[in-house]
Point group: C2
Chain length 362, copies 2
């Protein structure tokens, strides 16, 4: 066990912009860098601390966009600069994960790795630890790509689903299919069937295994990295990436590999997960008062109001009357009031704000 631990790496994906959480999540300070719950830790710091019992700190890799490097150094000062991989361009998750895998394999050909988003909430960390331990054990002993599948608790239409197949060992099953975001009716069928789990975007595999899969299913991406030869893990790596990364197609790891490969497994887990992907997903999983209102870190007086989610600076008083099923998000310089059912409009709003205010408020 202690021997295996020396080969375990943690890749924290930290390049997202979280635009669906505007105005709290901003281009310059996306949600992973925010103390979202007023606990004193940003979501990135919470992710780091959650993984620390599982992976030694010198084997963390944070992959991000170049513009966020300084902020990561501030928030995780215990990391060495070499542990931050700065993407020169946004290319979705497949190229980012490919780079991390080539980098890690160069450091340790026997390495296994967990890939974890930096902006999710996990509440039952003790269960999380056990799940990840079991996942590492599995991928270290199988030629397997493992994804964590969250036991669904509602007919969520905002997530992808994983359909389970044959059980391989307790709690770990072959994946039958990946499914895109379903409509409400289908989501209910998925929930009732007990055969479908949420795709959390948390993966475990050996570096060698994912590189093999990339070569097979997205050879154009793998080729960009294979051309680098022995450059990974050396001082030439940054310059090499800066010259080639933009050539990679922008594609997600799910679409590039997971939906195509035959050695994909799911570990079915239940550790209190929220992707904080949208205001209403935060609403759904937060504790509610008797009127069904959720209050994040603020003073709210709600009269004849129900089903709302409120977020405001902690010293601000928010008073509402006769308001139902809305998002009220006061981020200091921006106030957003929007029905939860219209939250998909937020992306369009962010575009409009960009056009109208030339970068201000983003």
């Amino acid at each position: 066990m202690s021997d295996r631990r020396q080969h375990r790496y943690c890749v924290i994906m930290c390049g997202g912009i979280g635009s669906r959480f505007w105005p709290y999540s901003r281009t310059n300070v996306p949600k992973q860098f925010i103390d979202f719950f007023g606990t004193g830790s940003s979501l990135l710091q919470m992710t780091y601390e959650r993984m620390l019992p599982l992976v030694d700190k010198e084997r963390f890799i944070v992959i991000t966009n170049a513009k966020y490097v300084e902020r990561i150094k501030e928030q995780l000062p215990e990391l060495d600069d070499s542990q931050i991989l700065a993407e020169p361009d946004r290319r979705n998750t497949a190229p980012a994960i490919a780079w991390a895998a080539y980098h890690i394999r160069a450091l340790d050909p026997e390495a296994s790795m967990i890939v974890a988003p930096s902006d999710h909430l996990i509440t039952r960390e003790h269960i999380f630890e056990k799940c990840v331990e079991r996942g590492f054990d599995f991928v270290e002993t199988h030629d397997a790509l493992l994804t964590l599948g969250i036991t669904p608790t509602r007919p969520e239409t905002g997530y992808g689903y994983i359909q389970i197949g044959q059980e391989t060992e307790p709690g770990i099953l072959k994946v039958k299919t990946f499914t895109e975001k379903p409509d409400r009716e289908l989501a209910q069928v998925f929930l009732d069937s007990g055969e479908f789990f949420w795709n959390a975007g948390i993966f475990l595999w050996k570096a060698e295994t994912i590189i093999g899969a990339l070569r097979r299913y997205v050879p154009d991406i793998a080729a960009e990295f294979d051309r680098g030869g022995d450059v990974f893990g050396t001082t030439g790596e940054t310059a090499y990436i800066n010259s080639t990364f933009a050539s990679c197609p922008s594609i997600s790891i799910d679409f590039a590999v997971m939906e195509k490969a035959s050695n994909v497994y799911v570990e079915c887990v239940n550790f209190g997960w929220n992707d904080l992907g949208s205001w209403s997903s935060l609403y759904e999983t937060s504790p509610k008062n008797i009127d069904g209102n959720v209050t994040q870190n603020s003073n709210v007086m709600a009269y004849g109001s129900s089903g709302n989610i409120f977020m405001a600076p902690s010293d601000k008083l928010v008073v509402v009357s006769g308001m139902h099923d809305c998002i009220v998000a006061d981020a200091g310089d921006v106030l957003l009031i929007c029905p939860k059912s219209e939250e998909q409009k937020i992306k369009q709003i962010v575009n409009d704000v960009e056009l109208r205010f030339d970068g201000k408020y983003l």
Copy 2:
């Protein structure tokens, strides 16, 4: 004319707390002290400047609560300290006006005076000037209590109405009755009849005339001031008031005198008046965009939203979607969101805030 001007005084009533305009109007900074329209002048300063062509600045009197004296000195530095009458207690308008009348009569037994609230908006100042000139001329030549009656433009239920009687001279008529705030149906009848005007709370009379009326209709109040003898206009006035003012009953000048006296006249005027008494009265009289939204001094992006009034700090971006007929008032440390139809709840909300936060946010 120039001779008469030397006897004309302006009394600005500046002691209100404007609680219906919370959270913009605060106990410590009521709405008359706020630059409400982002013009660089507070409502008090606008009132002063509006009257300055009509009354010489040394004949202004500002009557207020003791706690606002310093703020008035800041906002109207051209006034002498002796021009500010500081009430030691709140006693509604009749005792305040009585004090001002006794004070002014001591300075000039022939004085006429206009009494004007400090927190109203008047847009057509040129017409206002002509109306006030005519009103002064009338009360200086008649034993008359004159009130300005605003030509109504909508069936407003928030105002008192004045029913007109016989015309005495062009534009000035005997008052038949004063009417309390009507319900919606009655307000429509008033509007359609052409016989009813809004009671704006702007009065003109000779000091001697109002003192006579006070003695007749509220002798208990008049007695408190008559006991002062020659103290008014002397250095002993403040001490005298501090020892007796609290003994006055709290009563409005309308109820104390205007509704009872027989020599009450109304000048029917139309100079773009708004009492800024409530958010929806401000909404009603403000310019609206194509969706019927009113925006005060802020950046608003409204999607599928209509009939709202928005007020926020000028550098704040407010984004709303699917919101109708609401008040959205962001006053920095307090955000209020409330349907316009429920604005009468604001007084209750302010009480609740006081109980819960012990003076903060008021």
